[in-house]
């Protein structure tokens, strides 16, 4: 519950908004879905709405896709399906929450909030996305650095996410949830940069693990410099070790088991897509 004394701000300039949130208790409002979660929020004094900042865009310059932090999950899904670009994003985000929620949930709020059940992070990390922020720390960072460093906790406004679109990339995502409208238990995304059928580089990420996020570095190494084969997938899977937190529905060991199955499924799909 937010206090009923909160102040609203509707800035039209990014700088103005970034300045406002320097004050204690003043936070940004993207879609508001996290802010509305039922928990006491008596420390919140003001909300800075980002909708008038002109950040609700998805545009392409050269081979870079810019996703404004005000864009919603629905915007990204629609763009990606329509343009058939970065389809790993629509594959993933179309599974997040529900149609009406996807119309509200913003990229910026989801990046800053980074819930355990995020559908957004794994594919963006696999695609080696960059993030442009302004605030206590400003600049363009790799999303991986942002998510794994104190940066994410600093006071800032996310301006946009950038993804370099490469045509030699094969990517995919797997999400584990048992019913459609349910918080994903984990998400695995992989992107392989290919030289013909040889993997030049691989980035594989899992979110929903104990540390929230893990990069499967050893598995990536297995593929680098090779063409993907079933043997390679199996041996990579054998080297994967994931630590999950048990919850009331699933034990940690089970989650890991399924994650490995999904890992193999995902890489097999990527393998198929190369042929």
């Amino acid at each position: 519950m937010l206090p009923n004394s909160i102040q609203w701000y509707f800035p039209t300039k990014v700088k103005e908004a970034a300045k406002l949130i320097h004050k204690d208790g003043i936070i940004l409002h993207g879609g508001g879905t996290k802010i509305l979660e039922p928990q006491p929020r008596s420390s919140v004094k003001g909300l800075v709405d980002i909708s008038a900042l002109g950040l609700n865009y998805i545009k392409v310059t050269g081979n870079i896709v810019h996703i404004g932090s005000g864009a919603t999950f629905a915007d990204v899904v629609a763009w990606s399906r329509d343009k058939k670009r970065l389809t790993v994003l629509s594959d993933s985000l179309s599974h997040a929450a529900s149609t009406p929620l996807r119309n509200r949930i913003t990229i910026g709020g989801s990046i800053k909030d980074f819930p355990m059940w995020s559908n957004l992070y794994a594919p963006l990390l696999a695609l080696d996305a960059k993030i442009d922020i302004i605030g206590e720390r400003s600049g363009i960072f790799s999303l991986e650095e942002y998510a794994t460093s104190p940066l994410i906790k600093s006071k800032h406004l996310v301006r946009e996410i950038r993804v370099v679109e490469k045509h030699d990339i094969r990517s995919g995502v797997k999400i584990f949830h048992v019913v459609r409208f349910e918080y994903p238990i984990f998400t695995i995304a992989a992107a392989c940069t290919m030289d013909k059928n040889i993997v030049r580089d691989a980035r594989i990420f899992v979110t929903g693990v104990k540390k929230k996020l893990v990069r499967l570095v050893t598995a990536e190494k297995v593929f680098r410099g090779h063409s993907i084969s079933d043997e390679l997938i199996n041996s990579a899977a054998n080297q994967v070790s994931l630590t999950f937190v048990p919850d009331y529905k699933f034990g940690a060991a089970y989650k890991e088991k399924v994650a490995k199955v999904y890992f193999k499924d995902l890489l097999r799909e990527i393998k198929e897509s190369i042929r």
Binding site: M1, N4, L36, A97, S98, F181
Partner: protein
């Protein structure tokens, strides 16, 4: 404080608190056709169209959508002049208790605006934010299918 919205094409000034959800504000101001089933974004009973797009009004802070266009189920058709989708729901048994219906009808409306000829799979995706415990969804999906074909016929006749 009073904030103005355009609700079902009518301009209205609604009394609200800065921390209130759109759901609360609408219901308090007499728009009880917007239902409340969970207030956590998980049932879709509170679904309204915001500038034409479906949202869970319980997941929207009213202040954040000031001066926007809001459509409730009464905005697309009324008892005396029901929309084709509403007729299809009533005729096809897609409404049992009807508590999910206002949200469900709006979700269907928005889907058919974007996609006049959806597959069953696409209908299911368009309704993925709307729970119904009574019907088992079978007749709802059928009704949307039926309404879609009627709307297409109507459109092709008009052309």
């Amino acid at each position: 404080m009073k904030i103005s919205f355009t609700i079902n094409s009518r301009k209205r000034d609604l009394e609200l608190q800065p921390n209130e959800t759109l759901l609360n504000v609408l219901r308090k101001n007499g728009l009880t056709e917007v239902k409340s089933g969970c207030e956590e974004g998980e049932c879709g009973a509170c679904l309204v169209l915001l500038d034409g797009k479906p949202v869970n009004s319980c997941q929207v802070l009213a202040m954040s959508v000031r001066s926007k266009k809001i459509t409730t189920v009464k905005g697309i058709g009324t008892l005396h002049s029901p929309h084709i989708i509403q007729k299809a729901f009533a005729q096809g048994g897609a409404d049992q208790c009807g508590f999910c219906s206002p949200g469900m009808v709006l979700a269907a409306y928005s889907l058919l605006q974007k996609n006049p000829n959806p597959t069953r799979e696409e209908i299911a995706e368009g309704l993925d934010g709307n729970l119904c415990r009574c019907t088992g969804y079978v007749k709802i999906v059928e009704a949307v299918h039926e309404a879609a074909s009627k709307l297409r016929n109507e459109k092709s006749q008009a052309e």
